[in-house]
Symmetry: C2
Subunit: 564 residues, 2 copies
């Protein structure tokens, strides 16, 4: 086993004693944060709270050995929990044994997908999810997550589950049934969490409200007064359990498994990279996939549910001084000790408090400001955000992200089909060629049209380029030479090369010659492969617009002299 295969060998063999204090305190603080969060997120995923704790043991140990991030805190997170609920609840009822076994199967599938993506180096696939899509999706999902917890705080069992408008409508119309006790507990918890977060961020808010609420509930025996509590939490470590594999279930779960694999990895790698940049080390995306994948595969054999690297806990881990994955190992061990000895403590924990923890945690993910920012910088990105946000909120979690991805692809296709094209003139003083629209004082030779295309050329935008060319030529009747400035052409395809030849032949008939300038190496290679080297050698080899212009000027002189 080399260090390349097991990244942990690297930090274990080089472990410095100085790092131990930071790792210990970070591991301890994250564990304190993770216990209530894990239980809350498991509840959000439609699972018994203890599964959130199980998911915080084996997967953490595996990731600590195989991950390349030193500070990433892996475990249950809100977004993935919601996706689990959205995906599995369409197949079977939450709360049943079948539901739990499907979640385990889903975890195994996610692990296998992530592992394969890592081994085949397909990490780049997350790039299908653009920033605008992720941000719009996260904001909408945060609202859905928050509202889905409303029932625990109102103390009523809502029929509506996923559609936010139905949830709001039903909550308002059944306001008379609301139980004031859980509302009070929930509201006080939210208030306390916000106050602690704002004024004494060093204190772990979730732990405070959990302990306070447990004491209050058990002292006043509030569970008898309509306050729903967590109740018995099974003692002991998770036992080995094999996920049940059936072909039908696997097929039904594939879409959600792919979605969670990508979204989970995206959340994880974003955070891992952010910390690694600050700490000046490298995380390797494809190895992260392997680490996360094996963490999920391992967890699926120990009654867990899908995990990934979370934003907030990783930030806390890092800020609390974590230097190596030992911190994560300490967290896992503390969770195990909790499972072994302290599960009774949570008997009196009200569901309303877990709901309050979730609500406060996800509130910060609603990022309407980002939409405004995107609109300011680039309208299309803003519209992508809005579209994804609205689709997720109205149509559904899984559909929302698909709508977002498709919309951003449509925007991309639209943009590459209608690229920016500029006519250039010469700035004498600066000795550069620039867009004559932006630099009206740029010099233009009436017989030479210089066109810069700001896009890779392919079958789909050639007709647009052709149109633009004929428009410009029509307004510039003396045109005898056209210089195509290829500095923006980063790639070209076979169809575009063929179309270019046709265009050149057509224009030659009207005595207009083509020259190519600033052709890049990779593009030149393709032109040569298509036989342009022999056919047009001198035309495509101009290293700059100046070179092309002087070739034209030489030609002009030659023609002038030929008259005599």
């Amino acid at each position: 086993m080399s260090k390349k295969m097991i990244p942990a060998l690297e930090w274990i063999t080089n472990y410095k004693r100085a790092d131990l204090t930071g790792d210990l305190s970070a591991g301890f603080i994250v564990a304190i944060m993770l216990i209530p969060q894990g239980m809350a997120y498991a509840m959000l995923a439609g699972l018994p709270p203890v599964i959130g704790l199980y998911a915080s043991t084996i997967p953490l140990l595996i990731y600590a050995l195989l991950g390349t991030s030193r500070q990433l805190a892996v475990g249950p997170v809100a977004m993935v929990s919601l996706l689990v609920l959205a995906g599995v609840s369409t197949i079977t009822e939450p709360g049943t044994d079948e539901y739990i076994s499907f979640v385990l199967l889903l975890m195994l599938m996610i692990g296998v997908i992530q592992l394969l993506m890592g081994l085949f180096r397909l990490g780049f696939l997350v790039n299908f999810l653009s920033h605008a899509v992720i941000s719009g999706f996260t904001s909408a999902a945060a609202i859905i997550i928050g509202l889905s917890q409303l029932k625990h705080i109102l103390g009523i069992k809502l029929v509506a589950d996923k559609n936010v408008f139905n949830i709001i409508f039903e909550s308002v119309s059944r306001l008379s049934e609301v139980n004031p006790l859980p509302v009070t507990i929930g509201a006080l918890s939210i208030l306390l969490l916000i106050i602690i977060k704002k004024f004494v961020p060093k204190i772990p808010g979730p732990l405070v409200v959990v302990l306070l609420s447990i004491m209050t509930t058990s002292f006043f025996q509030l569970q008898g007064l309509g306050v729903s509590i967590v109740g018995d939490v099974p003692k002991g470590l998770p036992s080995l359990s094999l996920p049940v594999l059936t072909v039908d279930a696997v097929i039904a779960l594939i879409p959600i498994a792919i979605a969670i694999s990508l979204i989970g990895f995206m959340e994880s790698i974003a955070m891992a990279k952010a910390i690694a940049t600050k700490e000046k080390y490298k995380v390797i995306p494809n190895k992260e996939l392997v680490g996360l994948g094996l963490a999920n595969i391992g967890g699926s054999f120990f009654a867990g549910y899908p995990v990934t690297g979370g934003f907030s806990r990783s930030a806390v881990n890092y800020q609390s001084g974590a230097k190596t994955p030992l911190a994560t190992m300490i967290t896992a061990i503390l969770i195990m000790l909790t499972l072994l000895f302290f599960t009774e403590v949570f008997y009196y924990l009200p569901h309303a408090v877990l709901a309050a923890i979730i609500m406060v945690a996800v509130y910060s993910l609603i990022d309407i400001k980002e939409a405004k920012h995107l609109f300011k910088i680039k309208k299309a990105d803003g519209w992508t955000w809005i579209t994804t946000f609205i689709a997720t909120l109205t149509i559904g979690i899984e559909q929302g992200i698909i709508v977002g991805v498709v919309f951003s692809l449509v925007v991309f296709i639209w943009r590459s089909a209608y690229p920016h094209v500029a006519e250039l003139g010469f700035l004498k003083e600066e000795k550069v060629f620039r867009n004559i629209k932006r630099y009206p004082n740029a010099e233009v030779d009436p017989e030479v049209l210089i066109i810069r295309v700001d896009a890779s050329l392919y079958f789909a935008n050639m007709s647009f380029l052709e149109e633009k060319l004929s428009e410009r030529v029509a307004t510039k009747e003396q045109t005898k030479w056209i210089i195509l400035d290829f500095s923006g052409v980063n790639a070209i395809d076979a169809v575009a090369i063929h179309s270019l030849e046709e265009i050149m032949t057509d224009y030659n008939k009207s005595d207009i010659q083509f020259l190519f300038a600033n052709v890049k190496g990779p593009v030149m290679d393709l032109l040569r492969k298509a036989g342009w080297g022999d056919r047009y050698h001198e035309k495509i080899a101009h290293l700059s617009n100046q070179h092309a212009m002087s070739a034209i000027n030489n030609e002009k002189e030659r023609l002038a002299c030929a008259r005599y």
Copy 2:
């Protein structure tokens, strides 16, 4: 009604008598070609042959009035017929009344989709289908189409229908059941069609084999000897019939309707553009969509089936002298006359002959050479071709095109995530900056690193760029300035701008300064919107690498003097 809305007003009001001869003869020749083809393609689509003739009446008249191509021959085509069969046969059995009514509904849906795409100017969406995908798909589909006709020539009813391997396997294993008569008719027809096509292309081959086979069959009464014939073809024009709309059927047909809308339009616009370029007039893609859409909507009320502009008939129409859409109108009128008076003629037409016509027609669509060509020019395009081809052949018609589109998107995402990055040096003689790997004699200042990124920058490739930068800086220890040559950066997004700022701040800590050269107008606008104008004014405004270099040299002098 203006000429803008009804393009026909343009050519009708300006009709020249000189064009009449060409239009008449082209209209006549296309009609002669269309009668056997229409019947054959309808059979391919799992419909009674007469529906192919119905589809060649009303839709042609509508397109002649509303289309912007003057020579495009609209009507039944092989590819769309196959897609109709592939899509509708999964819902209901071909040959039933329900099948016909679903095809009519599908035609209406295709019409509505194309009309809406035209009205909302969404024609650019066909760009999702790259050339490699279309070519690979067409080649595979042609093989499937050809083999699907084998049963008519062998004279046995095959169980296998779509999977080519099953078709071949079943045909071979049941070779003993084959009826030698249809095999002979089919083989002779194919031979005759090839010979006519090759040596006397002026003669319409399909008509010749149709007439010859009708005479032979009726003379020898071959239908009694196991030769399957077309039989009664209903006399008279198609009657008005309303497509039956049910929500379930509409939902089931949506995927295939979208696929046919796009593929049909693609085939049509490619041919229309090719002819328009030669004839120096303009076809307007979004108006073509409106024309085709209304042709399909109209046809769906008159017992037709989905139509589009076909490759081969349009070529024949153009070569036979068609000058205006009047030729298409003449074709439609001739088909109507045939329906009114000559349907008995086709009673004795053997199915094997129609199958032979289809096989010869689609053979030319199998374009393995194109795959080789793509591989030579650009490997990724070649792989896209192969993937689409194999997926279409093995998984299925509809799935094949989806696999192709997804594969080409993955290739694109991969490429934009790992763009080409070059380190530049100065060519003294030519006075240009080029890749030092390609121009080893390019001069390099040990303190200045010039990097050209050949890609638009966005969230997904920034980390790759960052990596490349740190790699280069690591090998060039004296680096004090980094010039980013943005000539290839055609676009940038908000996340990339933000990442760039972070990178700059990071490098500033190690006393490395950034300068930006060749920033294009559209990119500069975005940088300014993000506040870079105020923050980095002098750094981003360098019009060329030379300008950036002289700024650096000035700075170097200033620093040198400051020492004293």
